[in-house]
């Protein structure tokens, strides 16, 4: 696999990742008690794919997936939240740099790091980026926006913590570890 930022693999991963994001957002959203806000299981997929393919892929997976979902859903494209989704991918990607999930390594330490990063990234996106953009565009009451951001953010954190962590562990288990095969001694019978 080439190391360039836009290898063919990254491009494909963005496309398939966005498709997965879309399907999760559309069919697996669990509604929260606050109107127009759901627990986003799709962010667990975005976080997991970001660990594998890096911040640029993470940003585009979340951004494209969210944009297509908004277009298909019919409530108009909610750009403030679409952008916030993209920011989540970037932050997540920067925070988990250097993890070797693609080589099958994901220990308890990595799991803790993954979760700390995702909590911080979600807090920044739904507690800061999305509300500020919402206020700029729609000038809705500050308390209302922050409540929606808080509930959405908490739901996303919970979903990413549970589903995202399970995904990482399961994927690492399914992937053969680097150097797990040793050459047999040829002199032996």
């Amino acid at each position: 696999m080439s190391k360039s930022k836009f290898s063919v693999k990254t491009i494909v991963a963005i496309g398939i990742g966005a498709a997965l994001f879309f399907v999760m957002a559309r069919y697996l959203s669990i509604p929260s008690p606050i109107p127009n806000t759901t627990f986003g299981i799709q962010y667990s997929v975005a976080a997991f794919m970001t660990v594998l393919y890096g911040p640029v892929a993470g940003m585009l997976i979340a951004f494209i997936g969210h944009m297509l979902n908004d277009m298909a859903a019919g409530w108009g494209v909610w750009w403030s939240w679409v952008i916030a989704s993209g920011v989540f991918g970037v932050l997540m990607g920067l925070g988990v740099r250097g993890m070797k999930l693609d080589e099958g390594e994901f220990g308890v330490k990595d799991a803790i790091r993954f979760n700390v990063v995702q909590i911080v990234a979600h807090c920044i996106c739904w507690g800061l980026v999305a509300p500020v953009l919402d206020i700029l565009i729609y000038n809705e009451p500050v308390e209302k926006i922050f409540l929606q951001g808080l509930v959405g953010g908490l739901g996303n954190i919970l979903a990413t913590a549970i589903v995202g962590t399970i995904l990482c562990f399961a994927y690492a288990k399914a992937k053969p570890k680097k150097g797990s095969l040793t050459k047999e001694d040829s002199t032996e019978e």
Binding site: F6, V8, K9, I11, V12, A13, I14, G15, I16, G17, A18, A19, L20, F22, V23, M24, R26, Y27, L28, I30, I34, P35, N36, F39, I41, S44, V45, F48, L60, I64, G65, L68, M71, A72, A73, G74, W75, G76, V77, W79, I137, Y138, N139, E140, P141, E143, K144, L147, Q148, L158, A159, I162, V163, I166, L167, A170, Y171, A174
Partner: protein
């Protein structure tokens, strides 16, 4: 195939426009509507959006489900705004015209009503355009149009791949979901939140793993065909701009220009009849 994006193939002037021109208009239109709180202008945008809708030969019942969903969304949003801040408009417009005393803090003021009208108009000015874009643009052409508007062809290709694999992923999702439910994994309201999320992982995991396999297969296929070797590429669904397309983009630029110049001239984003 499931028609997720609700593309409706008809003969109309709007369908004839290229996806690139329509997408440019969509972005510029939303920018114009998002940056202003000028009520008459938002009204004009709404009327224009409805006129374009008539021109496209998309009938109301084609998009009725989406419109109802949007109305519910809009109503809930307005109720929530009022519950949180019943005198939000008073703050914005800097004056207070009481219409009903109401109960406690829940008064009804002319300013609040105007603010709600603005929120409603922001929806009605943009949503018909989004629906129109989705209904009149072939999803395959969408990716080609992104490239035409200056998005790198590699990213456009990612969008094309996403659109290509969404139906497959949906089908696979339903298969996995049903077989897991047959094994007794509960996904409905009957389970509590955390259990539901854990159970969701049981559906997502096979879906993701098969997605990972698919990434490998598609990557190999594309690498074998030398994808990404050249700086540009052509698109099967790409089309040349016609006069209509150029007019469409000019209209978009005009709308944004009007919105911005109003804000500059007025010294603020709000049209304030109370001042």
């Amino acid at each position: 195939m499931v028609n997720l994006f609700n593309y409706i193939d008809r003969q109309s002037p709007v369908h004839k426009l290229t996806g690139a021109a329509k997408f440019a208009l969509l972005i510029l239109w939303m920018l114009a509507a998002m940056t202003t709180f000028c009520t008459p202008y938002l009204c004009a945008l709404t009327v224009l959006a409805v006129l374009l809708f008539r021109l496209s030969k998309i009938r109301f019942r084609d998009v009725a489900v989406m419109i109802w969903l949007t109305l519910v969304f809009l109503a809930l949003n307005n109720i929530l705004i009022y519950l949180f801040s019943p005198e939000h408009g008073v703050e914005i417009y800097g004056s207070r015209t009481l219409l009903f005393a109401g109960i406690g803090r829940y008064t009804v003021t002319a300013q609040q009503l105007l603010y709600h009208l603005n929120v409603v108009l922001k929806y009605t000015a943009t949503i018909p355009i989004v629906l129109l874009f989705v209904a009149t643009t072939n999803p395959s052409e969408f990716a080609a149009s992104l490239n035409r508007l200056g998005v790198s062809y590699k990213i456009s290709y990612s969008v094309a791949l996403a659109l290509r694999y969404i139906p497959d992923t949906v089908r696979e999702f339903h298969d996995i979901s049903q077989s897991q439910q047959a094994r007794g994994i509960e996904m409905s309201r009957k389970e509590n939140m955390v259990k539901r999320l854990t159970n969701a992982a049981a559906i997502i995991l096979p879906l993701i793993l098969s997605g990972m396999d698919r990434i490998d297969v598609v990557t190999n296929a594309m690498e074998l065909r030398g994808f990404g070797k050249n700086k540009t590429r052509t698109w099967y669904m790409g089309r040349k701009f016609s006069t209509g397309d150029i007019l469409c983009i000019l209209l978009g630029i005009l709308l944004v220009a009007v919105s911005l110049s109003y804000t500059l001239w007025n010294g603020g984003r709000y049209w304030n009849p109370f001042g």
